[in-house]
Amino acid sequence: MKLRLKITKDKSIRFISHLEYVRTIERAIRRAKLPAAYSEGFNPHLKFSLASALGVGVVSYAEFCEIEMAEPMMAEEAVEKMQKALPRGIRILAADVTATNAPALMSEAGGADYRVTLPYDKPVDAAVQAFNAAESIVYAKAAPKAKTKVKEIDVKFFIPHIEAQQQDGELVLTFSCRITPNGSMKAVDLINTLNQQYNLNLPAEKADIERLDLYKYDLRGNKQPMLGEDMVVVGN
């Protein structure tokens, strides 16, 4: 049996790294004394995984953690125990249980919703309209660790449409970003794309990036929650 949790990475802990987030969950599982499965071998480790590696500094209200259980347990009970064992910045929003051999959640993820807030008081409407109307926008992304190599991505494939709101010197962008088995694109690269393509001067380093949700698509192309219909919802 597999326990699946929808959890947050709240603002107060947004700067812990992915590895630190993983270690934190692992220790929480131990504190909660969930009957989690361990790997065999000399150096046994907990069998659990996180659905995606979030960038340092990005807040998320839709992280997914899958824990393989050695013994069955009700989702409600597991949630109660886990929540007490998690630090304040990680809240459980929903949970379900499924078969151990069910596909990994990440392989099913089809898209994520983001909200990006940054200080900006100059007009952006024309840029946003042009972005939304464009067929394709190629962005040259420096590959990590190899500074000479660049990877070209079509931003419009990942992010077909953005919405912008401006108030009190603040710009709020909301959009959906496609996730494929071969990867996705980072929210900060959308900011870089807008700056490059439309001569904006958005301060990417000040961008407050929040992942609002993560979901899969059904055969008709409709958004579906990651967890099953019988999931226990405990927060939002």
Binding site: S12, I13, F15, E20, T24, R31, K33, G57, A85
Partner: protein
């Protein structure tokens, strides 16, 4: 979380989670719940500060009390400091985002002399006047404690109060005295509180003492400025560790820290009597916790932290009377939970190796032993009480159990050391390699030799001795380096400059405060990090204050010379230390009083406590 630390600032520094707090187990009290607040300030980075057991203990003890709040703050690394100074962002606590200036107390631990510059820097970043004399009614009291507090004089210009000895009881007494003083309308202002504070046993206020000097610059006398102040301040100790609270739900950091495991304190004190060892002299007497108490604490710690390793810590854990049966019990209890037990250090005998084998059933990382000196003569001088045979037995047991790498710790520059003694270190390392071939029939045994430069510390029998000069230390390092050019032997050593400056501040007096202040103003910080340490800066600061480092470190001190630290009392008698010094010169040993008779250090009698073993 510090709200001044905006996204762009945190994104630009290394390890930003050092500054954002909110870890599991952190305790955040509301302003209504907080009558008296103390910032436990660690003068180095978060990963080191969070590994310090003393602060885990005090955080727990203080926060358990209604109305008292302890919060944490560590030194920002240089990249973060540049951001803070650039944007005029003050240093704040991890718990409630409070600027240091707004605490009632800022408490620093003195772990290491080369962290003193960070204390000045943190006060400055926290908007607290760096010099005690410049603090006013709205500023916090700066209080210090920890091992270096037995000579706090180089910092006397900076702190208001020092807590001498173990803090569990006295810190709460101090904070309660503050609460009473505040409720009474702060009678007498700052000085009024200092007067109340020094009425508590174990509290020292440097401003209540004048230091008089002789013509030769040595200390003549340390004189209290008024009658009510005690002439000497004796350390506080916990008589029975079974009665004192130990933190069972410590903060669990997100990131990897230096000691990323449960630290369970097995006992305090060590009476092996190694003559170079400051901790062995100032933390007496030995007081063991009962094994049942320890097992209960281990249970709670595992439940509350989720760590998978319990480190049994003390000054010499292999000496714990009930060690083997207790380890067996712990291994049995925690096996199914995949929690291992570990020993931070090993005694040089096969008993320790057998235990190490048991606790490290899987990971065969190298074993570490500390013979401290290469020749038997030198080991007798320092009262190490270990023979070459002991070491050979220990490494034999290790090699038979499958280990193939050994790390050996030594000191060079010990009092009375000759070149032969230094070269004996190389011989010993080679004999360990030969022993491996003898036992396994194979070569390839890796030996790492680490040699640190000896610093004669206050309140040790070697407090009278001079430190080797820098040239001499360097010459000995090269001598040893040449002798260790052997396949599979690695030699590790550090530049002696840091040991020289460590000695100056370990052995110095109040006059050094000016040089410390000057060096800090000229940019000194993180001096314990070799890439930040600038020896020339310290030499210039000393010279510009008319001070000579050699006065503090390069001369044998007179038998009757008054030391700058003598009004601070760890209770070990001067006559005992002097006798140990004489015995060192004759190469005579002194036994361990934990199992043998009293050796007359005077601590138990003076403090009204006794050696407490549970076996």
């Amino acid at each position: 979380m510090n709200k001044d630390l905006t996204i762009d600032i945190l994104s630009s520094v290394s390890k930003p989670a050092r500054y954002t707090g909110d870890e599991f187990g952190s305790i955040v009290k509301t302003p209504e719940e907080t009558e008296v607040s103390i910032a436990l300030a660690f003068p180095d980075v978060y990963e080191i500060g969070m590994s310090y057991l003393g602060f885990k203990i005090l955080y727990h003890i203080v926060n358990k009390q209604q109305g008292l709040a302890a919060e944490r703050v560590c030194a920002p690394w240089t990249d973060m400091e540049a951001q803070m100074r650039g944007h005029d962002i003050p240093l704040r606590s991890l718990e409630t985002d409070k600027v240091l200036r707004d605490f009632d107390f800022v408490g620093f631990t003195l772990q290491y002399e080369l962290s003193y510059s960070n204390i000045l820097n943190m006060l400055d970043l926290g908007k607290v006047p760096v010099l005690a004399a410049e603090r006013g009614d709205n500023d916090p009291f700066v209080v210090v404690g920890g091992p270096c507090v037995y000579n706090p004089e180089p910092l006397a210009d900076v702190f208001d109060l020092a807590v001498i000895g173990e803090g569990e009881e006295v810190l709460v007494e101090l904070l309660n005295a503050y609460r009473d003083w505040k409720k009474a309308g702060r009678p007498g202002g700052r000085r009024g509180f200092l007067e109340r504070a020094v009425a508590i046993k174990g509290i020292y206020a440097p401003s209540f003492y004048n230091v008089e000097y002789n013509d030769d610059n040595t200390v003549k006398e340390v004189v209290p400025v008024y009658d009510g102040v005690p002439k000497t301040i004796e350390k506080r100790v916990i008589a029975d560790l079974n009665d004192v609270d130990f933190p069972t739900a410590p903060v669990v950091p997100f990131g990897e820290i230096v000691h990323d495991r449960i630290m369970l304190e097995v006992f305090r004190g060590c009476t092996r009597g190694c003559r170079f060892c400051h901790a062995g002299m100032v933390y007496r007497p030995v007081r063991e916790r009962h094994p049942e108490v320890l097992k209960a604490l281990a249970r709670q710690l595992v439940d509350n932290t989720g760590y998978n390793e319990i480190s049994l810590v003390s000054l010499s854990t292999a000496d714990y009377t009930c060690l083997a049966p207790m380890i067996h019990d712990m291994i049995a209890e925690f096996k199914d939970e995949r929690v291992s037990v570990s020993l931070p250090s090993l005694r040089i005998d096969s008993f320790s190796v057998d235990l190490a084998k048991e606790v490290q059933a899987v990971r065969k990382s190298g074993l570490t032993f500390a013979p401290e000196a290469g020749s038997q003569r030198m080991r007798d001088v320092i009262n190490k009480g270990v023979t070459e045979e002991d070491l050979m037995n220990a490494v034999s047991a290790a090699f038979k159990s499958g280990w193939s790498s050994v790390k050996l710790y030594f000191m060079i520059g010990l009092p009375g050391e000759t070149d032969e003694d230094v070269l004996a270190i190389a011989d010993l390392a080679k004999k360990v390699q030969w022993k491996y071939r003898e036992i396994t029939g194979k070569g390839g045994c890796k030996v790492t030799v680490s040699a640190s430069s000896f610093v004669p510390k206050p309140y040790t029998p070697f407090q009278w001795s001079a430190q080797n000069s820098m040239d001499e230390l360097r010459r000995k390092q090269y001598l040893l380096k040449d002798a260790l050019k052997v396949k599979n032997i690695t030699f590790q050593y550090h530049d002696p400059e840091t040991s020289i400056m460590e000695a100056v501040f370990a052995r110095g007096d109040r006059r050094l405060g000016k040089a410390l202040y000057l060096a800090w103003q000229r940019g000194a910080k993180f001096d314990g990090w070799s890439e930040q340490f600038d020896y020339e800066r310290w030499l210039h600061a000393l010279a510009d204050c008319g001070l000579d480092k050699d006065f503090y470190i390069a001369r044998e001190r007179g038998e009757n010379e008054v030391f700058p630290w003598e009004h601070i009392q760890p209770a070990v008698s001067r006559a005992f230390l002097r006798n140990e010094y004489k015995k060192a010169q004759r190469g005579e040993l002194t036994h361990d009083c934990r199992r043998g008779s009293c050796t007359g250090c005077g601590v138990c009698q003076k403090l009204g406590v006794e050696v407490k073993v549970e076996g």
